[in-house]
Subunit: 528 residues, 2 copies
């Protein structure tokens, strides 16, 4: 079923000269499939098709686009165990995770379908005319979101389904009315091809224009660069490293017509421990965090890589308990030897810093490609001055910072780079008493959590997955949840347009019965 071809619209194509294989990290062996990197002509063809498809696709009704998304969800489900097995082979992740992530991917597609069926997401705004206004008559103005054009989505190594081929970026872009060209992640090109085949089957079944979706293989940087620089591409979605994301963003900004790049990049997800948490619930939090640090081999963008508390007996016993719990967790397979090697070298580099102590280190001779968790401890003053310690180590790794007092802790928070999340452990009274710490943390993050762990990103309207740079390139948007659709649209205003030629969302009769902002009031009623 896996051919190794690129999917250029509905066509399978392998014209390129560069071939590569994916890798099974558990077996430490290449998989059987050979993938053919898209060549320049294939890339151009995919973009041209997308640009043509945009002309019709952008004007499809929400109902029609929702049918497409629901069909994708169904076709992904129909891939059955083939998809799960391929996912597991290419990622080293266990079956439960594969099934869970498939569920999430399907759930996301259905959530966007529902959003489209409801229709209010376009933020229709209407100001009716006042022909008698003095000194100047007021014109009729009506505005709603309109899709920006073909979007390039880069598959993410750590979410072969939910942040890749038909993941959140693709689902949100397709929902918005933008065609999508996926540059599949080379570590899971087979999983990507299977999902792409499902998307294309769904496109055909629901009458979508050819080119609304393409999936291109690529092992190196050329395909991605060509896509981001292509004049017909109008936006980019990326989840990955700070280095990769900022390179793409820079490239996009240097185009003759700069385009938005929404890159979700690094985060160490600071956790602040206030006194009551470790005085009263030491063991609970040690257990929760041992789990959160090691879950999925720590390969989550919301992995808690930094825990801050104030030095003392309570913090010591938390550190001891955390160390015990982490040491108990059996290492699990990482996504790929490259990821494993980067983890090992990052871990070693941070461990080798001055005045850093080891809290927990899984010491058994680990299986190849299996990530052995490590937790370090360091004094606040040392952490403050050594920026190497602020770096994200992607994998089951965390540093506990022992501050001399809460002022030092607050100063560390203020100095931190932007983060996806920040967490406070404590009680409600402490949230008030340590208000300036809460404020400092909130200022650096997109999501602030009380008494929980940052891992586990709920897909819903109120989720914010995006924070100040370098957590993401644009903190004004989210990449998780239905609001992520707003990355791919721009408002278009119609002035004095004939009512029956307006998009339905803006017509007086409000045929879709959506919520609109009419002359200063929210309403789902019709006008006049």
């Amino acid at each position: 079923m896996i051919s190794g071809a690129n999917y250029i619209g509905s066509k399978e194509s392998k014209e390129g000269n560069i071939a590569y294989k994916t890798f099974n990290p558990k077996l430490n062996l290449e998989t059987d499939w050979t993938f053919y990197e898209a060549n320049k002509e294939e890339v151009n063809e995919a973009v041209s098709l997308a640009s043509d498809a945009f002309k019709t696709y952008k004007n499809f009704s929400g109902i029609k686009k929702a049918e497409f998304l629901r069909a994708i969800a169904k076709e992904i489900e129909l891939l059955g165990s083939t998809l799960i097995e391929t996912y597991m082979a290419e990622s080293g992740l266990p079956e439960g995770r594969a099934i869970g992530e498939r569920g999430r991917t399907i759930g996301q597609l259905l959530a966007f379908a529902q959003l489209l069926e409801d229709g209010s997401w376009v933020e229709a705004s209407i100001d009716t005319s006042q022909p008698d206004r003095a000194p100047m008559p007021k014109v009729d103005l009506r505005k709603m979101f309109s899709p920006i054009g073909p979007i390039v989505v880069f598959g993410a190594s750590n979410f072969p389904l939910a942040f890749s081929t038909a993941g959140g970026d693709t689902a949100s872009a397709l929902a918005s009315g933008c065609p999508v060209i996926v540059k599949s992640h080379p570590m899971h090109a087979g999983t990507s091809e299977l999902v792409a085949s499902a998307v294309l089957k769904a496109a055909s079944l629901t009458g979508m224009p050819n080119g609304v979706f393409s999936n291109l293989n690529s092992k190196g940087f050329d395909v991605g660069r060509q896509l981001v620089l292509h004049p017909m591409v109008k936006g980019v979605g990326f989840t990955g490293s700070i280095k990769g994301g900022t390179a793409l963003s820079k490239m996009a900004n240097e185009r003759e017509e700069p385009i938005p790049v929404f890159a979700e990049m690094g985060s160490v997800n600071p956790v602040v421990i206030l006194p009551s948490a470790i005085e009263n619930e030491n063991d609970k939090w040690a257990n929760v965090y041992a789990n959160s640090i090691t879950m999925g081999s720590g390969q989550f963008c919301t992995n808690p890589g930094l825990i801050l508390g104030v030095k003392g007996d309570s913090l010591n016993s938390f550190i001891d308990a955390l160390g015990r719990e982490v040491s108990k967790v059996e290492p699990s397979c990482m996504l790929h030897p490259n990821i494993y090697n980067a983890f090992e070298s990052g871990k070693n580099e941070l461990s080798a810093q001055k005045n850093v102590d080891v809290v927990a280190s899984y010491s058994e001779n680990a299986t190849v490609n299996f990530g052995a968790a490590k937790v370090l401890r360091v004094l606040g003053a040392e952490f403050f001055k050594n920026s190497t310690l602020h770096r994200e180590v992607f994998g089951p790794f965390s540093i506990v910072v022992e501050c001399k007092d809460y002022l030092e802790l607050e100063n560390i928070l203020k100095q931190l780079e932007g983060q996806l999340t920040g967490t406070i452990l404590g009680n409600a009274q402490e949230l008030k008493d340590f208000g300036s710490i809460v404020e400092a943390l909130k200022n650096r993050v997109g999501r602030i959590i009380f008494n929980g762990a940052p891992t586990g990103v709920e897909v819903c309207s109120s989720m914010q997955h995006g924070g100040p740079f370098p957590a993401t390139t644009d903190s004004r948007f989210t990449s998780v949840g239905v609001r992520s659709i707003e990355r791919w649209v721009r408002p278009v205003a119609y002035q004095n347009w004939p009512n029956d030629l307006l998009p339905q969302e803006l017509q007086n009769e409000n045929p879709l019965q959506i919520f609109r902002y009419v002359d200063g009031n929210f309403s789902n009623k019709n006008i006049g």
Copy 2:
């Protein structure tokens, strides 16, 4: 009343060595006032104060910020004739325009005050918890907009009030909860100082923190560059040239922490003439467009610089009528000799292109600094291949393009750069018959107008003043209307936060009675 000082928070300061004067273009003479460019220390001080002010200002209630905005409006009004006379002296614009623009500036401030009093603009979104959900309980998530930090606003040459010191960028940023540092436009530094004094008086009367607003003088590029590169600055608003806007945007993207720059830049605002418009209403449209082209000496970003029709007798008679009407319009004073000189050289450069004919040119010996309108005509094929003719000439200038057929017209539209507006003249039936032309135009613009002129930008929720690059740096936002507040905010999500410690906008009781998106439904009700 004009001291020439910088306003660094509430302090007047003139420590710098660079002095300059503003210029009265009507008298062709410098004004009496001397302005002192802010030096490095003064710039740093203004940014530090803004950053400090942000800590408290961002948490002020909508009601309190609205009081501030209303007080600014009142204090601007109280400047009375001094402001009007200074504005006229520094801009060469007539009294009616000065009074009108003051009205618009005050209207904008009051519109934002109303938005804050209403409160729903924060787009509160609530997903309540489902502790019993299987396999994982659902957490409680609540999200709303939160201001990003100190914003730098560059005063615009062509709107000394409405797009400058207390104009749309400043009003929207202050409304969002962001302190503002204005780099005043050197052509109207006196007007800017007067308005700054009004803002600061209002800040003091309503108990705003020192540093919530500063006004810095600057003649060259250094102050602007220092501001945009300052690590504590978190966003930039700019209205001006493509060159200036892209330079700022590039600078902001090369920072260690890139920040959003919303630059509103060039636009030629294409107008498409369909047959019925000139067959039936030739004289009307010639009159409307002669007015629109020459109004305010053509110094509007929405000035119609490009008119497209299909060659023939009707178009010929439209061109003749337009030429007659434009030739009747007396030249009026331009903002500054620099603007006048740029207009003259742009006009001459385009007039000197091959196969271009003059339709109308005010031939009297014009007064110095007065812009004599010019309209050119050219064949579609010539326009298509000569990109010099696509350039904006800032002033009373337009080109009529005679296409051989509607296909050529459509191809020209497709090739155009992004625009603020696009206009169609015709009837409803033609909007259907020429659907692909309408679609091509819509694809390049932020606002599409039926049977009107692009000049005259209504300030309301449904206005979109922002289009694909290079009309603006980010077509996903508007710089006019209350929705422009969204440029300066980012969503922040609270997970499992205690109800009484949430911002009021997110509390169960909905004490502000705002519209929220609760568990998938819009409502202004409370929860539970």
